[in-house]
């Protein structure tokens, strides 16, 4: 397959052929589209536009939890489960990028080896590339691509997360939080954030000492979560021995087929994607407007340092700019 040149728009015929590759889940073209989306290729929006279907029925599962909790090992077992039911399974596995070099060691596949030669499984590793929240900036769009390729379900494994990193819950239908023995004290302080996002709390490594304490701590902290209608299910298992995995798969299955999941799905996804685009484009636009007046962002900073203006005055510029737009709108209505 020919190399894609990084900054040049694809021809319409090339875009069409990539769209067919995705729809027919041809690995090479599908993988290339994922790269274009990840790299922000100029044609990626056009491809995402053509693939977008708000009513898509594919189920998505987020898997999150601290580093080394067994997320990848559990994902591997979940793949097994759906492959036995003859479902095509997609996986997006995010690992941290180094803030120093920008490089990343993407090692989640090591635990998913059993499916490496299976054409019914598509696994894609992504570096977080500076994005905070446990995902990469492109994960949401990569999920759209994989689901368009008729992988169903699609699992998203986050980087090993701390407390504030709950973004996966917003892009997945259901979220599994994987905890392990030894986290008892941390669980106490977790209750305010990450516990609330989970649909299932998986107590993994049940073969290890300390599982009882973990379960007690988790249940205790859930008692304080009273403002939610559905409490997360708590399931003990061991990805190593297989103990409890049946309970996990049946809990996941019953959640996925429940009425709650999928309700508002179209609206939720569309809102999410549009909000992402507003953030991205809004900030591009603001930078452009500032650069137009001050030459560059650094130019604006220099103006502040030389006492000509303040950051707040630069912000005020936008009020004027927006009023300008409104006047134009009103003007055109009167015409």
């Amino acid at each position: 397959m020919a190399q894609i040149s990084p900054d040049v728009d694809l021809l319409p015929s090339e875009i069409d052929s990539f769209i067919i590759d995705v729809r027919e889940s041809r690995p090479r073209g599908l993988a290339r589209v994922l790269s274009m989306v990840e790299n922000g290729h100029p044609s990626s929006s056009m491809i995402l536009h053509s693939l977008y279907n708000p009513d898509r029925q594919v189920k998505t599962i987020g898997v999150t939890g601290p580093p080394g909790a067994g997320k990848s090992t559990l994902v591997n077992l979940l793949i097994d489960y759906w492959r036995k039911l003859n479902r095509k399974v997609g996986v997006i596995a995010v690992d941290p990028s180094s803030p120093f070099s920008g490089g990343a060691l993407l090692g989640d596949r090591v635990r998913m080896q059993t499916h490496a030669s299976d054409p019914g499984v598509f696994i894609r590793s992504m570096g977080s590339r500076g994005h905070l929240g446990g995902l990469s900036g492109a994960t949401r769009d990569a999920l759209e691509v994989l689901t368009s390729a008729s992988y169903d379900p699609v699992l998203v494994e986050t980087v090993g997360v701390g407390q504030a990193e709950v973004e996966v819950a917003s892009i997945a239908d259901i979220t599994l939080l994987v905890l392990v023995p030894g986290l008892g004290d941390e669980v106490q302080t977790m209750k305010a954030g990450i516990m609330e996002i989970a649909d299932v709390i998986v107590l993994n490594k049940a073969d290890r000492p300390g599982i009882e304490q973990l379960e007690t701590a988790v249940n205790a902290s859930l008692e304080f979560v009273d403002d939610r209608t559905v409490r997360p299910r708590v399931i003990r298992c061991s990805a190593q021995t297989g103990e409890g995995i049946d309970n996990l798969t049946s809990a996941v299955d019953s959640l996925l087929s429940s009425e709650v999941v999928g309700q508002d799905n179209a609206k939720r996804r569309t809102t999410l994607i549009l909000n992402g685009i507003i953030r991205e484009k809004g900030s591009d636009l603001a930078k452009k407007i500032i650069s137009e007046k001050y030459g560059s962002i650094n130019g604006a900073i220099d103006s502040v340092l030389s006492g000509e203006t303040t950051p707040y005055m630069i912000g005020e510029m936008f009020t004027g700019f927006l009023e300008g737009i409104q006047e134009k709108d009103n003007g055109s209505k009167q015409d």
């Binding site: 190399q3 990084p6 120093f100 490089g103 990343a104 993407l106």
Partner: protein, 132 residues
Amino acid sequence: MDRRIRILIGKPGLDGHDRGAKYIARALRDAGMEVIYTGIRQTPEAIANAAIQEDVDFIGLSLLSGAHNYLFPEVARLLQEKGAADIILFGGGVIPEEDIPALKKAGFKAIFTPGTAASEVIDFIQNEFQSG
């Protein structure tokens, strides 16, 4: 556009020596590359499939067991068969000098033997990436 060099480091066959592969994988990460490490005991088929799904620019294979004369060319053959011959192959490990010409003929751009400094590997990759 945010394009980064993507590389798969894989160990085909039954060889369990993984220190060299991990050392190289970390060095490439520290040089700003995205490195997919797939672990030991991979079939050539699994390596070729993973490389395609991950859309890598390079595959670096590591073998210390002596099975390189079969396993390395087999990965090259599968890439060809799957329409992915544009992925650049290289390798390393305990590989006798006399085996290197045949591996190069099979499509391996470079072979790095014990004692190789990580910087040599990084230079090779960056040169290939720029000229490719």
